[in-house]
């Protein structure tokens, strides 16, 4: 229980007025940055690295970490209010979060996201204190074959995103995978479908695609119909009802679990945890067909998983000194600018600092909740803004966000193209979420497949010889069979009518 004593010492540092102020400033800035669609946690944290060099190390890291999870939460706000996710992982929140806002329940959606994020963040941080080392050892067992198998499970969940027609979900999924083929391939460095544009070498900017499909696509289909959505939707209750709380409790618990464990897996990204949580909630629900119409579980689960993931992903940085995502890599750079090298020696050489940062994660998550619950009415009241004004502001934010990722006007054109695609998807009754999921997962799958084969010298049996990857692949097949069965049942029920 030494670590608890050290943690107590950490609290003493984290609760010093100056550090509290840094945490508060970080949460506030993070939320504001997150509200700006497109400027996700990675870009947001990177922007503030120069600032970090000017502050004392502990304060700087506390603030950057607060910005990181503040931005994670901030992205939810625009997902719910304007169907514009701050980053790809929040795309799944749009499905039911935005549907809730349209039926006047934006308040409960934002409230449960804040509470879920808090629970997920706190539990993940406590996990960091108690079980960090053994768990990271376990997570290291995830090599390329295991990550590939885990991604296959994620891909199998595409079917869970289908609303009515499985074929239409598949169409969107395959289109996403084809878009993902653009760029240098992971095998031989061949330029695929880049039209000779250097901007496309590393693939289509995912943020630009997401902003286009969701944000701009939604604006386009709204401005087309002047009548209904031009006026703001009614604003109903701002707070969770007893029923909401009961409905979401299980989702929050499961989301915490999913986010925490997947956060430890190296190189997985935040997409799989959020989508997996959504799929699990839909699967467990007695009324899966109502998902997509504003089910609070569809917000509570993924949002909790997202923040639990965000905090758990810090664990490999602290224990191994290895960044598990681009955002964490940026954070690691901030450590280094301040002369602190994260990794196994951090706890021995800079113990005070390390424990202060961990304590500040708990303080910061609490602060984020305290900061955001009172702000819910303010965010919701943004819906009263006349739609032309809101459309104009959303477009401005989308442009800023998309441009800032690579400082490239080319990406704004990509967003424009995918805005048209998103608009067409609505007209064609195609779901957009599967496209985003496969766009993110396909390159990871292709890369891990190649790495696995490189490990085995081209022998496919590597996936079956390793118990973990074999069982995950079995699970993926199980999910597919289950979906196929329920699809057949639906068809039979249809034909009997």
């Amino acid at each position: 229980m030494d670590s608890l004593w050290l943690l107590a010492g950490g609290f003493a540092t984290a609760l010093q007025p100056a550090n509290l102020a840094f945490a508060f400033a970080g949460c506030l800035m993070g939320t504001l940055i997150g509200v700006l669609p497109g400027i996700g946690p990675a870009a947001g944290t990177a922007m503030l690295i120069p600032l970090a060099g000017a502050l004392d190390p502990t304060g700087a890291i506390i603030m950057l970490a607060a910005i990181y999870y503040g931005a994670m939460y901030g992205g939810t706000i625009t997902s719910v209010l304007a169907n514009t996710p701050g980053e790809a992982a929040s795309a799944v929140t749009c499905i039911d979060g935005y549907a809730m806002a349209r039926t006047g329940r934006a308040g409960p959606a934002l409230a449960i996201a804040a509470i879920g994020s808090f629970v997920g963040g706190i539990v993940a941080t406590i996990g960091l204190v108690l079980v960090a080392l053994p768990l990271t050892r376990l997570a290291l067992g995830f090599g390329p074959p295991e990550v590939f198998a885990l991604l296959a499970v994620g891909l199998a969940m595409v079917t869970a995103l289908a609303s009515r027609s499985a074929i239409r979900a598949l169409v969107a999924a395959v289109l996403g995978m084809l878009v993902a083929q653009v760029g240098i391939d992971p095998v031989m460095g061949t330029a695929r479908f880049t039209f000779g544009r250097g901007e496309l070498y590393e693939g289509v900017s995912i943020i630009a695609v997401v902003m286009g499909l969701f944000g701009l696509g939604e604006v386009l289909s709204n401005v087309e119909r002047r009548a209904a959505p031009m006026s703001a939707p009614a604003i109903g209750s701002l707070w969770l009802t007893r029923r909401d709380a009961r409905d979401s409790a299980g989702a929050v618990a499961r989301g915490t679990f999913i986010g925490f464990f997947l956060g430890l897996v190296p190189g997985l990204g935040s997409m799989v945890p959020t989508f997996l949580s959504y799929a699990v909630e839909k699967r467990l629900s007695p009324t899966p067909e109502r998902f997509g119409t504003g089910m609070i579980q569809g917000v509570a689960g993924p949002e909790t998983a997202n923040n639990a993931y965000a905090n758990a992903a810090l664990i490999p940085l602290f224990t191994l000194g290895i960044p598990s995502s681009p955002t964490i890599a940026v954070l690691m750079g901030a450590f280094m600018v301040n002369g602190l090298v994260p990794g196994p020696t951090l706890f021995t050489e800079h113990a005070t600092f390390a424990w202060a940062v961990i304590a500040s994660l708990i303080v910061g998550n609490a602060m984020l909740l305290v900061l955001n619950l009172p702000l819910v009415p303010l965010w919701v009241s943004l819906l009263r803004i006349p739609y032309p004004v809101l459309a104009c502001v959303v477009v401005a934010f989308c442009v800023i966000g998309v441009y800032s990722v690579n400082n490239s006007a080319f990406d704004v054109w990509v967003m424009l193209l995918f805005g048209v695609v998103g608009y067409a998807f609505r007209k064609l009754d195609l779901p957009v979420a599967p496209m985003v999921l496969t766009l993110v997962l396909a390159p990871l799958m292709e890369r891990t497949l190649r790495q696995s084969l490189e490990m085995s010298g081209g022998d496919m049996s590597i996936f079956l010889e390793r118990p973990l990857s074999a069982s995950l692949l079995a699970a993926a097949i199980g999910v597919l069979v289950l979906s196929a069965l329920s699809f057949l049942r639906a068809v039979r029920a249809d034909s009997e009518v």
């Binding site: 990177a46 690295i49 120069p50 060099g53 290291l140 067992g141 995830f142 090599g143 390329p144 240098i184 992971p186 095998v187 031989m188 460095g189 061949t190 330029a191 000779g196 250097g198 901007e199 070498y201 590393e202 190296p266 190189g267 490999p316 191994l320 000194g321 290895i322 960044p323 598990s324 681009p326 890599a329 940026v330 954070l331 690691m332 750079g333 901030a334 280094m336 600018v337 002369g339 090298v341 994260p342 990794g343 196994p344 020696t345 690579n406 400082n407 490239s408 890369r447 190649r450 790495q451 490189e454 490990m455 085995s456 010298g457």
Partner: protein, 327 residues
């Protein structure tokens, strides 16, 4: 044949050009106008951290703010191209990373407009030598052990890299070429994922810049068994170099310098080169860089250009080999 008249004309033109160049160099840097230095990779990466350590010192030296701007993408092609196309007035510079910058144009398939001639080298800043690394519980303690294992099981020893056609990949190829072995090459996306796979036992040996290995080595999680350099690293005095191993392994490392758009007037380049010389003598900077595994090594514009040409010559065959291996 030149007539006397046109020769005279040319001479006058040259003098005039020199005069304007001298004038612009005296005014350089324009007071109050910041110098933008482009880092062609992401914020928080090795080059970025080193650039951010140098920027305030350069600013003090030149009397104007020096900004660091990240322009990542297409393995540095976007940032380098942007710098090459910038106004050649010495207010837009770029941190040029070798051999990555060279592999953009040495790989003809990429069809990149960025060439060796697109940039004028100003000065070399630092080098980050690569190391050969195994897990701490590996039975291999020297380069000879790895060679023996690889010879006993051709194509079975799994060797990670920091990415397809990355410097780590060239390091792996150089090792295989120099020792006459063949590894099962596994390409990861960067040093972090490679290290993770090494710690998890998914690869047997890795190739990475020693700066990224230092913490793990000190903590006893991994063991650096070789430094791919001609002389031993100050940071790892007990680790043998590839040169000592008796195999003809090319030395491999990342070397970072400062460059400008090619049309930048010579006096401006010289002014900047001088500033780089001054800051690279700063003991505090040297110490911080050493902690990160970087050896501060100043080269002036001519020597840096020569160094760059040598990199082109050395890496061309490694690039061909890397592509051949993927087929």
């Amino acid at each position: 044949m030149l007539t006397r008249r046109s020769a005279l004309g040319a001479a006058i033109a040259t003098t005039a050009a020199c005069a304007t160049r001298v004038a612009s160099a005296q005014e350089y840097p324009t007071k109050g106008r910041p110098i933008v230095t482009i880092v062609p990779s992401t914020a928080g990466g090795g080059t970025d951290v080193a650039a951010r350590l140098a920027a305030p010192l350069l600013a003090r030296e030149l009397g104007v703010p020096v900004e660091v701007v990240n322009r990542p993408g297409a393995s540095m092609q976007l940032g380098l191209t942007e710098a090459a196309n910038a106004r050649p007035d010495g207010h837009t510079l770029v941190w040029s990373v070798l051999p990555t910058a060279a592999s953009i144009y040495l790989d003809s398939e990429r069809g990149s407009p960025f060439r060796r001639e697109s940039l004028a080298p100003i000065a070399m800043y630092y080098g980050a030598p690569f190391g050969i690394v195994v897990r701490a519980d590996s039975p291999w303690r020297s380069i000879a052990d790895i060679v023996a294992a690889a010879k006993a099981n051709p194509g079975k020893v799994r060797g990670g890299t920091t990415g397809f056609m990355s410097t780590g990949h060239f390091a792996s190829i150089a090792f295989q070429n120099g020792t006459g072995t063949r590894l099962a090459t596994v390409n990861f996306q960067g040093g972090g994922p490679q290290l993770q796979a090494l710690l998890g036992g998914h690869i047997d040996v890795g190739f990475n810049s020693i700066g990224e290995l230092l913490v793990q080595h000190k903590a006893g999680a991994v063991r650096v068994v070789g430094v791919m350099d001609k002389s031993r690293s100050e940071l790892l005095p007990d680790v043998q170099t590839t040169a000592e191993s008796g195999h003809a392994i090319e030395p491999i490392g990342s070397d970072i310098g400062l460059s400008a758009p090619v049309q930048t007037p010579r006096p401006i380049l010289e002014r900047l080169s001088q500033a780089m010389r001054t800051i690279t003598q700063d003991p505090a900077l040297k110490a911080r860089m050493l902690e990160l595994g970087n050896t501060v090594t100043y080269l002036d514009a001519q020597d840096y250009a020569r160094f760059w040409d040598a990199v082109d010559a050395r890496f061309k065959p490694l690039i061909e080999a890397a592509k051949q291996q993927a087929k």
